[in-house]
Amino acid sequence: MELLLIILIGILYATGIYMMLRRSMVKLLIGLILLGNGANMLIFLLGGITKGKPPIIGEGEKILSGLYADPIPQSLILTAIVISFGLQSFAIVLLKRVYVLIQTDDLNDLNTPDTDI
């Protein structure tokens, strides 16, 4: 399964970057989200994956023992998901506003050429 996940991560990274290189702002945003998913999966995979053993202490027990999924990558990813949501929602609204102002979704139209530096 790890191999499949690794392939998936590679694809997510590649498509994320590819979408970021498009001219449309919406595609840029989608690319960012895909890239974020890829990064989350990478962290998840590197912590080691375990099937069917969530890091929850069972009824009547005091410590988690035996085989269990690593809680640290999980809490890291949880934080990452939430923070990236903040970023995404702000970016979406900002995008809308840019669209209302200049009536285009094309990044090229946003460039103001700097003539004198």
Partner: protein
């Protein structure tokens, strides 16, 4: 001691505060500061004869930087020059710049400079020395550019700052290197590790950086050109900074480090060559000039070259000659500058082809000029004669190439003699032209200072014992050499006397035969395109053009080009590292969890969704497919024991899609931009990057993971925090503060979203 150094800084601030009172008559009162400091250092004279005085104050002990001051013969000679000539220059300037709009600023800079220079020569810690060193460069910049409405003045002050500042940079590198090698920044402590330093593999580099600092400051070829440019400063400044004190800081530095680093072939040869080239080059240039200050500037460079040259010879005799010559030169050159300033002030010109016969209207000035010129020529009974004698003796007895070195010294002296006469005698000789009849003797404050300096030159020349035991011998001791024979006027008939005679005869002959003319200067100017100055200016322009091009290229404001650059750079860097240094392997048998039908199904759906996201031309399809990717990842979380993640991912993904659709559904379809080349290029770049990330992930999988922290949380989640969901407990309890900050970030984002949605667009914004 510390108050002596800091008083100048305090004074500078006070002058600015009470500026309007200083500008009038009381300007001359500013003289009291250097005068009292001069008296203070004069009082130190007897104490320093026997051993150096040390003063120590703690400053930054953790970095080995302390306010350590050391007063030995060398420091004292410089301190006396700084405060003594400072006194005269302060008084001189009070009349020279009488009624100037920015007189208070001028005194502020001048006392800042004096304090920095004192600090420089008294510091016993290289870092402290460096701080003062830079301060002198900065104050020099302000003083050169004092007439800031003159473009040439501004340009030259920048040039001086660029050259000396660049040298300061080298010097700092040298000091850090030296401090690391010696294990401390104290110069006194470095003395004990002198042998180790000289044998060290990095000795050459230390010298390179140290010389870089010293040569730029002391205007050695090929960094000499800032000094003639610095003559744009008011004349008192030229006399003070650019002849008597600041430009000698480089020489001081070399002298200070002679006991530590000197005596090595690298040291001696470099100094000899640099000094000799500077001497000849600038002495030859000095006689081509027609501007008084230009002549003096080049002859000052020649004198600095001579000092460096003498330190390069390195024998005890050469050290004594250098010590005497520092004093000789400071006395006569400052006097000549001040005389030049008077001529400029009273007649309005500095052209030696015009100035004639002025002795008839300003006799005391003529006397000062003549005495100074004679001292510079080295006529018997002047202090210059003793200085020149010592130089010839030192070169004749040099360890190698004695005759060549003597030849160079004689030639330089002949030219310098001519330059000195040009500046000190020719303006006063001959018939007074009609135009100058109305010129009259200026105020006391202008002509007394040069006369004092010139007379001192004569006094020391007639009674050398005055300067010998008190000033010269301690310097030689501080340089780590054996005290030479006492100074004498008469050494009997020998080669040195013959050489002196030859110098004088040739110089006099040259003076009477060769008239100053603008032709000479024009002839020299034809080679201006080859001069180091032009090269520096050109390379500075070229560099500025290059950096503009480079900045425009990299910072073109195009997001995609930034992403390109970053991704390509990372890919190439990591790929290089992977190819050269990492052994790629992956053991399929041990590391792999079995693939079930659920896994395969989810994987298939994700692939399809990703493909759809990328390829579709409909915005809504793209967003929907993207959310499918998110939900599939959510299922993967469920399968692989991360229920919290699954819940979060599910919620967030849903919210994102809702927001997308709500806000963006009215946008048009994607632009169809079918530039095949661009698509292929971007596919290759992103594909390579994806492969690279996959390979890295594969490699990391081979490394065993450290589970110690995880175990801590797993064991203590219930015991310490009374929670059974470990991930949950970590977020809200163990790492509670992080979560709080995270919530704050979300709140800020939410506020941003809300205000952007609510903000009404005014008509002016909507073009």
């Amino acid at each position: 001691m510390i108050s002596a150094v800091l008083s100048g800084f305090l004074f500078a601030m006070l002058v600015l505060l009470f500026g309007k009172y200083v500008k009038g008559k009381p300007a001359v009162l500013t003289t009291l500061l250097p005068l009292s400091l001069f008296a203070y250092f004069l009082g130190m004279l007897p104490a320093v004869q026997t051993q150096p005085l040390l003063f120590s104050y703690r400053w930054i002990p953790s970095m080995g930087i302390d306010l350590n001051f050391k007063l030995d013969g060398l420091s004292l000679l410089f301190s006396l020059l700084i405060t003594g000539i400072g006194t005269l220059v302060f008084a001189y300037a009070s009349y020279y710049l009488k009624g100037h709009r920015y007189l208070d600023r001028f005194y502020c800079y001048l006392s800042l400079f004096m304090a920095s220079m004192l600090g420089l020569v008294l510091s016993d810690n290289v870092m402290l020395l460096f701080v003062f060193w830079e301060l002198t460069s900065i104050t020099s910049f302000f003083l050169i550019g004092f007439n800031n409405d003159d473009p040439a003045s501004r340009r030259n002050s920048l040039m001086a700052l660029a050259i000396t500042g660049g040298g300061g940079f080298l010097l700092m590198t040298g000091f850090v290197l030296l401090g690391t090698l010696a294990g401390g920044y104290s110069i006194s402590a470095m003395l004990s590790s002198a042998e180790m330093l000289k044998g060290h593999a990095w000795y050459g580099w230390v010298l390179f950086f140290l010389f870089g600092g010293a040569f730029t400051k002391s205007a050695q070829f090929p960094f000499h050109f800032w000094l003639p440019g610095a003559m744009k400063a008011p004349t008192p400044v030229s006399a003070y900074l650019h002849s008597a004190t600041m430009v000698k800081a480089g020489v001081y530095l070399l002298a200070r480090f002679t006991p530590v680093l000197g005596g090595h072939p690298y040291w001696n040869t470099t100094l000899l060559i640099a000094g000799a080239i500077t001497m000849l080059y600038s002495a030859w240039h000095a006689i081509q000039r027609t501007d008084l200050k230009g002549i003096l500037a080049y002859s000052t460079i020649a004198a600095l070259g001579t000092l460096v040259f003498l330190l390069g010879v390195g024998t005890a005799e050469a050290m004594a000659a250098a010590a005497v010559f520092i004093l000789v030169h400071a006395l006569y050159k400052a006097a000549l500058f001040l005389v030049a300033g008077i001529l400029d002030h009273e007649t309005g010109t500095r052209d030696v082809t015009i100035l004639r016969g002025l002795r008839k209207v300003m006799l005391p000035v003529a006397a000062a000029g003549m005495l100074a010129a004679l001292s510079s020529a080295g006529l018997p009974l002047t202090f210059g004669f003793i200085g020149k004698d010592l130089i010839y003796e030192a070169t004749l007895h040099a360890p190698a190439y004695g005759y060549i070195l003597t030849g160079i010294a004689v030639l330089t002296n002949i030219l310098v003699l001519y330059a000195g006469f040009q500046a000190g005698i020719r303006p006063f000789a001959g018939r007074l032209p009609e135009g100058f009849r109305s010129v009259h003797l200026p105020d006391l404050r202008l002509w007394v200072p040069p006369l004092i300096l010139a007379t001192l030159g004569l006094l020391y020349g007639m009674i050398p014992a005055l300067a010998d035991a008190s000033l010269v011998q301690p310097v030689v001791q501080a340089l780590g050499a054996v005290s030479p024979a006492p100074l004498k006027i008469w050494h009997g008939f020998n080669v040195v006397l013959l050489l002196s005679g030859v110098t004088l005869a040739a110089g006099f002959a040259l003076y009477f035969i060769r008239m100053p003319s603008a032709r000479h200067q024009l002839a020299v100017d034809r080679f201006a395109s080859l001069s180091p100055e032009t090269l520096v200016v050109r390379s500075a322009r070229g560099f500025s053009r290059f950096s503009t091009w480079y900045t425009n290229r990299l910072h073109n404001g195009n997001l995609r080009s930034y992403v390109h650059i970053i991704i390509i750079f990372i890919t190439v860097l990591l790929a290089y590292k992977l190819i050269t240094g990492v052994h790629l392997y992956f053991d399929i048998r041990t590391n792999v969890a079995p693939i079930t039908v659920y896994d395969l199904t989810v994987f298939g759906i994700i692939l399809f969704a990703i493909w759809k996201t990328v390829s579709t031309s409909s915005r809504i399809t793209a967003v929907a497919s993207m959310s499918v990717v998110g939900y599939c990842i959510c299922i993967l979380f469920v399968i692989y024991s991360a229920p919290d993640l699954a819940m979060t991912q599910f919620t967030i993904d849903t919210l994102t899609v809702v927001l997308f659709v709500l806000v963006l559904f009215r946008l048009p379809r994607f632009l169809r931009i079918n530039d095949r080349k661009v698509i292929v290029r971007d596919s290759i770049i992103s594909g390579l990057f994806g492969v690279l990330i996959a390979i890295i992930a594969l490699e990391v999988m081979n490394e065993p993971t450290n589970k110690e922290t995880s175990r801590f949380y797993a064991e203590n989640a219930y015991l310490l925090a009374k929670g059974k969901n470990v991930v949950n407990v970590m977020l809200v309890d163990f790492r509670g503060f992080d979560t709080m900050v995270e919530i704050t970030v979300l709140v800020i984002a939410a506020l941003g979203v809300y205000s952007l949605l609510k903000l009404r667009i005014s008509s002016s914004e909507k073009e």
